[in-house]
């Protein structure tokens, strides 16, 4: 069963525990600026929107990588960056139309969500159930992907 992160912004309070958990998992430091998941605050609307890679089928990042540093994990379906192979050219950061691949100036490599090998730290840390890790067919992810395809048809 393929699982995905399901995000329900209605439940998000903007506490950023997910960003801390993500950065600790991946960078061994509490450091939201290096988190692969980001919560965007819409002050005027009073809304918080957690946002990260949907591991989209188009895999713009994977296709744009010139050195095969981004590959799909067959077990989780996540597009993963191989740190050793990544040269830091940043082409994936402009290729991903969702803006979910970021350049880490400290390491000279790019970072993106890899679903923590199937046990996402953000979902575990979320105190309100705004981020859950569930069966893909249940997430409405297909809808998001359909939107993505419509909005960003290139190939």
């Amino acid at each position: 069963m393929q699982r995905s992160l399901y995000i329900d912004p209605q439940k998000c309070t903007g506490c950023l525990q997910c960003e801390m958990a993500c950065s600790y998992e991946n960078e061994q430091a509490f450091n939201p600026s290096k988190s692969r998941i980001k919560v965007f605050a819409f002050h005027e609307e009073g809304r918080f929107v957690p946002y990260t890679c949907t591991q989209c089928a188009e895999a713009w990042c994977l296709h744009a990588c010139p050195v095969e540093a981004i590959t799909k994990n067959p077990a989780t379906g996540a597009m993963e960056v191989n740190e050793k192979t990544c040269v830091g050219c940043k082409v994936c950061t402009i290729a991903c139309p969702f803006g979910t691949v970021n350049y880490n100036t400290a390491t000279g490599k790019v970072i993106k969500c890899d679903l923590c090998q199937g046990d996402p730290a953000c979902a575990k840390a979320c105190p309100t159930g705004a981020i859950t890790y569930v069966d893909s067919s249940w997430t409405g992810l297909d809808k998001m992907r359909a939107w993505a395809a419509k909005a960003n048809t290139a190939a």
Partner: protein, 618 residues
């Protein structure tokens, strides 16, 4: 360890900056944040200093747990000598600024002197610069935050700033961060304004990985989070209603100060309560409350995000567009001060006044209470319409409240007089007895006639009247950790001392005191122990709390305060409550104070006995 071991010292007079290690020898005795910064202030300044002079220092400080995965880890404090009280001032704020400062690699910033021209401090990781603030001087908190984000091309720069009122000497001006979180009390914003320091803006991308034992820390913080989630107050009441959950409760027990403390129950309480914030309004069918919001790392999320009825008078006309969006909504203390204390039951007017307090950087408690005092002055004829610039300060007049907030926020007209606080205002207009203050700081929202322990809390609070120094309401009303009778004075000195010491520890960790609805020090202890070097047993923590309290006390004594300042306004000691369970009662402070002094190891005139000083090393 939970500290970055890095302090930024900023001399505003010369524009020079230096980096120094944190005094770890002091951290061992004072933990961090409130305690440690107080130690710095005590060591580095003369307690008799004029708070608004260049010789005063202002310290912005995080705690060792700030920025960690512990719940409510977003706290920072501002420690200085307060201009409202001429006593130690320590104001604590949440939001996101504190954690960002930690992530930029700093524990603390010490501001000295006074800049010859308006400046703001920009910190991006280890790079700190003083930059010209000419363009934002005179601007509001909201305008400044917007300007900074544009200027720095970064929506995630965290901003702590003052409004125009602080620049013009409003004595209860706050430092507001993240648009609507505030180091609110005692006028720390006025100190910042006196230093010509408009804002501190921070972006931290270094992060924090200095927890001593990450595995133990994770386990301890997870366990403590579960305690919060399972607790009725922190797991359900606060997320749903915020601190406004208290409005109806406190009113029912007859401890809701009303119309400048003339009464103890407010007939309009339910109209301005947490429950009322859920009621759909007629105009657009939407409730006041949009949702709850969290400060950094907070798994409680008591914050209110509200909107004003778009048809309400306060948001009509030009330039009011910004109040038609969601922003920081009413918390209990603000709803009380702006509402019950002024006799106003118009939820939208209170929300508007609260927005203005955030927008302009005012402490809504002191502001609302000062308006309430002005209303009493006005009603007895001591203050006239001519003197107020045409505003009719009658109890219940929502228009007057809104106008007063506009004027005080901008430091204009009669607003400048309101900005002096109720003690100075009432003295000026000949009725010092109308000032509901201790050490010149306005009371919060619990009547000491109906909750006896709070009388002692207020009278002995080192920063002037305050509920956050020993929130005995928890025990006397909510039964946390054990229920005590609010109308009884026996045992209250012990209760107050225990709460004062424990709270001093909590305020020194980087975590939020609201966790103590569910947590005791025993829930903090494993988190502190896992995060910080050294021994942090329960005994040690209790001692640290007591040490901090006594250090603050000694500072105040050295500043010239005496036992005579440990008192309550006559109204609470002589005018009995008229209604409710506490009808007929005054506050029996006189019964509690000698016991308290004795417990503290103080002399009858409120000074630290030599053996107390020696035991605590103060």
């Amino acid at each position: 360890m939970g500290w970055n071991n890095k302090v930024l010292r900023v001399n505003l007079s010369t524009g020079s900056m230096s980096v120094e290690p944190l005094r770890m020898d002091w951290a061992r005795d004072y933990l961090g944040q409130r305690g440690l910064a107080t130690k710095y202030l005590v060591e580095e300044t003369d307690p008799k200093v004029d708070p608004l002079s260049p010789d005063n220092k202002m310290i912005m400080t995080t705690g060792p747990l700030t920025g960690t995965e512990a719940s409510t880890s977003g706290r920072y404090s501002v420690v200085t000598k307060g201009p409202l009280t001429n006593a130690i001032a320590c104001s604590n704020s949440g939001g996101f600024f504190g954690a960002e400062l930690k992530y930029a690699g700093w524990d603390m910033i010490i501001f000295e002197g006074r800049s010859p021209k308006p400046v703001y401090l920009s910190i991006v990781d280890d790079k700190a610069e003083l930059l010209d603030a000419a363009e934002i001087w005179g601007k509001s908190v909201w305008e400044t935050e917007h300007w900074v984000h544009k200027k720095h091309h970064d929506p995630l720069v965290r901003v702590a700033t003052i409004g125009a009122g602080a620049e013009k000497g409003v004595l209860y001006a706050a430092i507001v961060n993240d648009l609507h979180r505030a180091a609110g009390r005692s006028g720390v914003g006025a100190v910042m304004g006196s230093k010509n320091l408009k804002a501190v803006v921070v972006r931290g991308t270094i992060g924090m990985n200095k927890v001593k034992d990450p595995v133990a820390f994770h386990a301890a913080s997870e366990a403590a989070k579960k305690v919060l989630a399972d607790n009725a107050v922190t797991g359900a009441g606060l997320p749903k209603y915020g601190t406004q959950v208290l409005m109806n409760v406190i009113n029912e027990i007859g401890a809701m100060p009303t119309r400048n403390w003339r009464e103890v129950q407010f007939e309009g309480a339910s109209a301005i309560s947490g429950e009322a914030m859920y009621e759909p309004r007629q105009s657009d069918g939407k409730p006041n409350l949009v949702r709850n919001g969290a400060c950094f790392g907070c798994t409680i999320a008591c914050g209110r995000i509200s909107t004003i009825d778009p048809t309400h008078f306060s948001v009509q006309g030009e330039g009011k567009e910004r109040y038609k969006h969601a922003s920081g909504g009413l918390e209990y203390e603000a709803a009380w001060a702006l509402g019950s204390d002024t006799g106003i039951d118009d939820l939208d007017a209170l929300t508007y006044a609260n927005f203005l307090c955030n927008e302009h950087g005012l402490d809504p408690i002191s502001f609302g209470a000062t308006v309430a005092a002005a209303m009493e002055l006005y009603e007895v004829g001591a203050l006239t319409k001519e003197q107020t610039g045409g505003i009719e300060f009658k109890f219940g007049n929502a228009e007057a409240l809104c106008k007063a907030a506009e004027l005080t926020g901008k430091g204009e007209g009669f607003g400048l007089e309101l900005g002096l606080g109720s003690r100075r205002l009432c003295e000026k207009y000949g009725h010092p007895e109308f000032s509901m203050t201790v050490k010149s700081q306005e009371f919060p929202a619990y009547d000491a006639r109906g909750i006896q322990g709070m009388g002692l809390t207020y009278a002995t609070s080192n920063r002037g009247a305050c509920h956050l120094r020993s929130y005995t309401v928890a025990s006397e009303v909510l039964g946390i950790p054990v229920k005590t009778d609010p109308l009884v004075t026996d045992g209250k000195p012990e209760l107050v001392k225990a709460f004062q010491d424990a709270t001093a520890v909590v305020d020194s960790t980087g975590l939020c005191v609201f966790t103590t609805f569910a947590w005791t020090l025993a829930d903090f202890q494993p988190q502190i122990q896992a995060a910080c070097e050294g021994d942090w047993s329960m005994d040690k923590l209790n001692e640290v709390g007591e040490r901090i309290w006594n250090l603050e006390r000694q500072y105040n004594l050295d500043a010239g305060l005496t036992a005579a300042d440990d008192t309550l306004p006559k109204r609470l000691l002589t005018e009995a409550a008229k209604t409710g369970p506490a009808a007929g009662r005054v506050n029996d402070l006189g019964k509690m104070m000698p016991v308290y002094y004795e417990l503290r190891g103080w002399t009858a005139d409120g000074k630290l006995k030599p053996e107390t000083r020696k035991r605590l090393g103060v």
